[in-house]
Each structure stands twice: as C-alpha cells, then as structure tokens.
C-alpha cells in the first residue's frame, strides 16, 4: 500500500519535472549500488552465523583507507586525473585492497567472534561493536579527523545527456535555458562494477563447492558439519568475501566522491544494514535490491524533502521494517531455527 503510494508520488514527480527526477534517480542508483556492496557483507555474515557484524561498516571505510597509500605506491597522488594508463593499476589496487580487507576481516572473526560462538547472543554483538570502535579508532589514529582527498581517477566525461522540457531544475528554477541532466561515465562505471561483483558473487555462491558449503552452513551448521564441511573454513570464507566486497565498495565510494573519513563507516554501515534488512537479511538478492531501493529513497528525500532528514527517514524505515515485516521484502532464504 505505502509502496504503491510512493510509486504514484514518483510518477507525479516525473510528470512535473522529468529531468530532475532522472537526475535524482541516477544519484540514487549510483549510491544504491555502493550501499548494496556493503549490505551484501552484512547479509552473508548474518545468514551464516546470525551475527550483526557491526564492524562491517568500518571494514568498508578501511577499503578506502588502504587504497590510498597503495595507489600512492604507483605514484598516484590526490591531484592525479584520469588517464588510460591508470586503469590496469586501478584494477590491480582494487584486487589488492579486496584481498587485504578480507584478511583483516578473517582476523577479526578469528580473534573476536569465534571464541564466542557458543556464548549468549549478546556477547558477540558487544564484541562486534567493540571491533567497530577499534577499527574506527585505528583509522582515526592513523589519519586523524580530516577528510582524506582521494584521486579523481574516474573520467569526468558525460555518458549521456538529457534536456528538461519543463525548465525548472533545483536552484536554476526560473532560468530560461533548458537545463541539462548529465549521466557521467563515473556513475556508469560505479553501477557496472557493482553489477559485475554481484554477478560474480552469485555465481560463486550457487555454482562452486565452497558456495554450496556456505549455503549448507547457513541452513544448519550442525548438519553441515556432519556432512564433512569444515565450518570454520566456510565461515572464514564468508567473512573474507563480505569484507572484499565492502573493500571494493569503499574504494568505489572514495573514487566517486574523492574523499573519505574515518567515521564514514558508521552511518554508511547503518544505511547498508537497513538495506540488508529491507531486502530480507540473509538473502543475497535482497541485499542488492534493498541497497538500490535505499539509495533511491535517500536521493528522492534529499532532492524533494530535506537532506538533513535523510538519516532520520532511513532509520525510520529500518525500525518500521523490523517491526512490521522483519523478514524484509524478499523474505529470508534461510529459515529461522
């Protein structure tokens, strides 16, 4: 019902000012793609050990923080602009960051979560919050309270351009020239890289042996163990993949916005967690869909209502979903015990 109303509202906005709506949707989809990458990690970890991995948002930030010095090794500084020679370097650094991030997350799991696997549920959740503070504190100690400038390595060129017939677009309202809506190569690159990563993930989960082990462990850990699956290895792999995706997300975020700060992961992590819950936590497709929806909702809210309320709206959605539909939009694939 409320979904229907929201769709009607969006259609109305589109009729009023198509260009503005398209611009907003572009922002929403791009942001949403990044949220989806983070949400996947939440959902995978929750699916397999039913832990809200609080530190995941900070693992995401860590991706950007690790990426910056690694890019520096190749002589790329914050002033560097896009050039084709940087593309292979960028891909290499991406892979490196994903790997390092994965290793960090495996360590976190090994040190902070595994010893508490049989403890009361509250215990690992509290350590997860502690790990989040430790990661944030470490990044704070390392780089301080400033926003780090990230090189603008994605091309600024325009991929596609729309003109708006209605002629009132944001601050330019009243101007006579038809405003232009640009979809940058940046936006396209973000969305494409996210889609590639999500497809790789779903192939991995559905087609490989380790993916099968993950699904089995998520369904019933004891039974999976009886079938000869190495539970610890499977859980480690899950943390690795989740962190790798988050690290890629952090890199993409930093490349897109060209800045990153140590406490970015707290709010972004919560938004991504909302996305995972909205899609149905434990459900991979749900996380991707939830991320996209949250991105679009956030962008619509920022354009048509008020940017200072967007976090309130997102957290409001989180509470509403948990209260009225805890299984999320697509439901849990992993049935609750």
């Amino acid at each position: 019902m409320s979904g229907l109303l929201a769709i009607l509202w969006v259609i109305y906005l589109g009729a009023e000012d198509p260009a503005g709506l398209i611009a907003t949707l572009v922002i929403g989809i791009t942001d949403g793609a990044m949220f989806a990458l983070v949400a996947l990690g939440y959902t995978m970890v929750y699916g397999i050990i039913e832990l809200i991995n609080f530190a995941h948002g900070d693992v995401f930030t860590l991706g950007g923080f690790l990426g910056l010095p690694l890019l520096g090794l190749f002589g790329i500084t914050s002033g560097t602009k896009f050039a084709w020679v940087y593309v292979p370097i960028l891909v290499f650094v991406f892979v490196l960051v994903m790997g390092l991030n994965g290793l960090v997350n495996i360590t976190i799991e090994r040190v902070a979560y595994r010893p508490l696997r049989n403890a009361p549920r509250l215990a690992p959740l509290i350590t997860a919050i502690g790990m989040s503070f430790i990661l944030e504190g470490a990044m704070y100690l390392w780089r301080g309270p400033v926003s780090l400038r990230f090189p603008n390595l994605l091309p600024d060129t325009v991929a596609s351009r729309f003109t708006s017939p209605a002629g009132h677009f944001g601050l330019n309202s009243g101007s006579t020239a038809a405003p232009l809506i640009d979809i940058g190569v940046k936006d396209v690159a973000v969305v494409i890289s996210t889609v590639v990563l999500v497809i790789l993930l779903s192939v991995f989960i559905n087609r490989t042996k380790l993916g099968k082990a993950m699904r089995a462990t998520a369904q019933d850990r004891d039974a999976a163990q009886l079938m000869g699956i190495d539970i610890n290895r499977t859980i480690s792999a899950t943390f690795f993949i989740g962190a790798a995706l988050a690290g890629a997300g952090g890199m993409i975020w930093a490349l897109y916005f060209n800045s990153i700060r140590f406490d970015l992961g707290f709010t972004t992590g919560l938004i991504a967690f909302t996305a995972a819950v909205l899609g149905g936590i434990g459900n991979i497709e749900g996380a991707a869909l939830g991320g996209l929806l949250i991105g679009i909702i956030r962008a619509l809210n920022e354009r048509y209502l008020s940017a200072s309320w967007s976090d309130v709206v997102i957290f409001g959605i989180l509470i509403m979903v948990l209260v009225f539909r805890p299984t999320g939009l697509l439901g849990m694939r992993v049935p609750e015990k």
Binding site: I52, A112, A119, P120, I129, G130, F133, I134, L322, E336
Partner: protein, 415 residues
C-alpha cells in the same frame, strides 16, 4: 533491623557477614569516599573543579544503573540509551529556560527543578514504553538495532528542530538552576556566618560552586541504588532474571514476558531521563551534539566493564570508565607532551607533514575510540562477567556450551 542494631552480638554477626560480601564492602568504601571526597579534593587542589567533575561522573553512574536494569537484569541490549538521556535533558531545558519564548508557544516556561526531575523521568519512561511496545517482541539483536536507530533519530530530530521548538544546533542555554526553599549559610559557602536563608534567590544552586550539585547527586544515587536493589530482589526482579535466562520457560511459568520487558525498558529509560534533567541543570546548556552514539556505547562499556547485573559493580565500572575517558585520556596528551619534554624526545612534539605525523599531543588525543573498543572486546573475551560480577550472571556467562543461543532469544510472537 532495629532489633539487630540494638543487640551487639547480632550486630557483630551481621557486620561480619557484610564484610565477607564484596558488594557490601564496595558500597561502604564508595559511601565513605563520596563523603570525604569534596573536602579532600578542595583541600588538595584549592578549587572545587574536582568536585564538579565528580558530580558529572554521577550522571554517568545514574545512566549506568539505569542501563543495567535493561541489559543486566532483563537481558535486552539497548544501543540507543542516549536518546532517553536526551529526552530527559530536553524536557528540563525546554520547561526551565527562556527557550519556549522563541518557539511557536511564545511564552517562556520556568517550572521548578524538583517537579521537572520527575516529569523528565516520566517523559523518558513514556518514550521508552512507546518505543518498546511494538519492538520488544523482536529478537535480542534486532531489538539492539531498533534501539540504535531510535538513538540516532532522536538527537537528529532535536538538531533539525522541526517547528522551531528545540533551538537546533544553537542548543538551549541559560537553563534555570535548582533552588531549595531553606538553606543554611556557613563557613562552607561564601558568607562566613551561620545564617538560615529562605527563598529561591538566596538558595539557588550556583554553577560556580558545584558542591551543592555534588551533594544532590550523591543523594540521587543513593536513592536510585536503594530503589534498584529492591526492584532486583522483588517479584519483578525475579521475573526479569527468568526472562533473561529462558524466555519460553518464563512464559510457561506464567510470567507476562511482554509487560516484564516493557517495564525493564521503561524503568531503564526513566533513570536516563532523571540523569538527563540533572545534566541539563548542571551544565545549563543542552545541545544535540551531547547525545550521540558514543554516549550510548560509553554507558554500555561501563555496564559491561563493571559487571552486568551487579549494581555496585556497575557503579565501579561507571566511575572507572568516567575517569579513563574524561580525566585520564583528556589529560593524557598534555602529560605525554610533558613527559616527552622531560626525557628529551622533543622531536616527537612537532607535527611532521612528510610522514603525516600529527605531533605527539594530537596523536595521543585520538586514542579514546580505540580504548573504548578495546575495553569492550577484551572484557567480552577475557572476563565477560565484569570486574565485580553478579554471581548468577557469572555462572550464566561461564557455562560454555550449555548456554544455547536461546538465552537472549526474545522472539515470542514472531514467525
């Protein structure tokens, strides 16, 4: 009780029994320390700054006692505890300052502190009940997230200032000080003569002399400790323990789990509102920035460090964390710099752009996130029962393997 005190033999037996109970020892030491602290501190330093700091620490003790009801007694993880603190503080700030004159009401309200202390408590408890009613049927970790979301929403609403009620980022200042109808002047205040004073003007708390606040805080804490101890050993306290340990079994035994949890949530929130009103008066300034997630986590760290479910432990934890966060870590940059100067490491003091070294003082000043996180992780891994554990809770947390994951599973009524 009176009979025990009259009979020296029984009194001695009772005292011996108390001296073996670590909780009673801690209470005794704390009480004596609380009484001798203000004269000692002002004698040692010549100012009442330390007394003011101790009064501020009391706010955190109140918060920790309140969160302990939710987390320690009922086993519900509340990550948005700062929200209720904010609600209490704003209740006091709005109804005891000139703020409402610039609101749509166009009329300043100045209610007395003593009324508002209880009103703030009531408002915060209502907020807790309103949030809790629909969400308490959720599982433990979902509940944690809901409260976290709530804790993020509330300060943002105060900051965004819908309808120009709360002053937004400008904060609310010039908040009234508590007054008492009768007070006694003497050498301890500015006037040296013993003189009985009457009226609000003469007997107002003063921001420059925090001793009155300190005394008020000690009284509030004592009242709260008595209250919570009685709650813990009451029928309600046993019901909380039952729900915490096995909700299904508790429900089968006829405990109304929803109401029981709602009560824990509301009572916890009430303490927070109580502390919030005091905090608003003591600081005379309420700003939305004082209630962020770090506040909720700091209180949680206090409870976890002290020992979930054990009141004297939680008080110790609150004092320890307060000292660490607001005295030790705040002074550490200066002390570290002084130490570096003395041992001849002046090179560390200056920032160095090439190695992005921020300078020793700045670097040390960044430690507090890390310290909070480390306390949480290390405590949960090494001593989950806290420094002064409750005996029952220690057993629970230690029973490895036997503790199945339904201990915090509050999913009654959920598919």
């Amino acid at each position: 009780m009176i009979a025990t005190l009259r009979d020296p033999k029984r009194l001695r037996a009772k005292l011996r029994q108390w001296s073996r109970d670590p909780n009673m020892v801690v209470y005794g030491v704390l009480f004596v320390a609380a009484v001798i602290f203000p004269p000692l501190a002002s004698f040692a330093t010549g100012t009442s700054t330390l007394t003011g700091l101790a009064a501020d620490a009391g706010v955190w003790v109140l918060l920790a006692i309140g969160l302990n009801v939710v987390v320690g007694f009922a086993g519900l993880l509340d990550l948005g505890y700062a929200a209720f603190f904010a609600i209490g503080a704003y209740t006091y700030a709005l109804l005891a300052s000139a703020q409402l004159r610039s609101s749509p009401l166009h009329q300043a309200v100045h209610l007395p502190f003593w009324v508002l202390l209880f009103l703030a408590m009531f408002v915060a408890a209502s907020a807790g009940a309103i949030l809790g009613a629909p969400t308490l049927r959720l599982r433990g970790d979902y509940l944690a997230i809901v409260t976290l979301g709530f804790g993020e929403i509330v300060p943002r609403v105060f900051r965004n200032d819908p309808g120009h009620w709360t002053g937004g980022i400008n904060a609310i200042g010039g908040i009234d000080q508590p007054t008492i109808p009768v007070c006694l002047d003497g050498p301890w205040s500015q006037g040296d003569d013993f003189k009985l004073q009457f009226g609000a003007v003469n007997c107002s708390f003063s921001l420059s002399d925090p001793t009155a606040y300190y005394v008020l805080m000690v009284i509030l804490i004592i009242a709260c400790v008595i209250l919570v101890t009685n709650l813990q050993i009451s029928r309600l306290g046993r019901a909380w323990a039952a729900v915490r340990e096995d909700e299904v079994a508790a429900a089968a035994m006829g405990v109304n789990t929803r109401n029981i949890k709602l009560l824990a949530f509301g009572i916890g929130a009430a303490f927070s509102g109580f502390g919030g009103a005091y905090y608003g008066a003591k600081l005379s300034l309420v700003s939305p920035d004082n209630f962020d997630f770090t506040v909720s986590i700091t209180v949680l760290v206090m409870v976890v460090l002290g020992g979930m479910g054990n009141i004297p432990g939680v008080i110790l934890g609150a004092l320890a964390v307060y000292f660490l966060e607001f005295k030790f870590l705040t002074d550490l940059p200066r002390n570290a710099a002084a130490l570096a100067n003395q041992v001849g490491l002046q090179g560390l003091l200056a920032p160095n752009a090439a190695t992005s070294w921020p300078g020793l003082e700045d670097f040390v000043g960044r430690l507090n996130f890390l310290v909070l996180g480390l306390i949480l992780v290390l405590m949960m891994l090494l001593r989950p029962q806290g420094i002064l554990p409750s005996r029952v809770r220690a057993q629970e947390l230690k029973a490895e393997g036997a503790a199945d994951d339904t201990v915090f599973d509050a999913r009654a009524g959920q598919t």
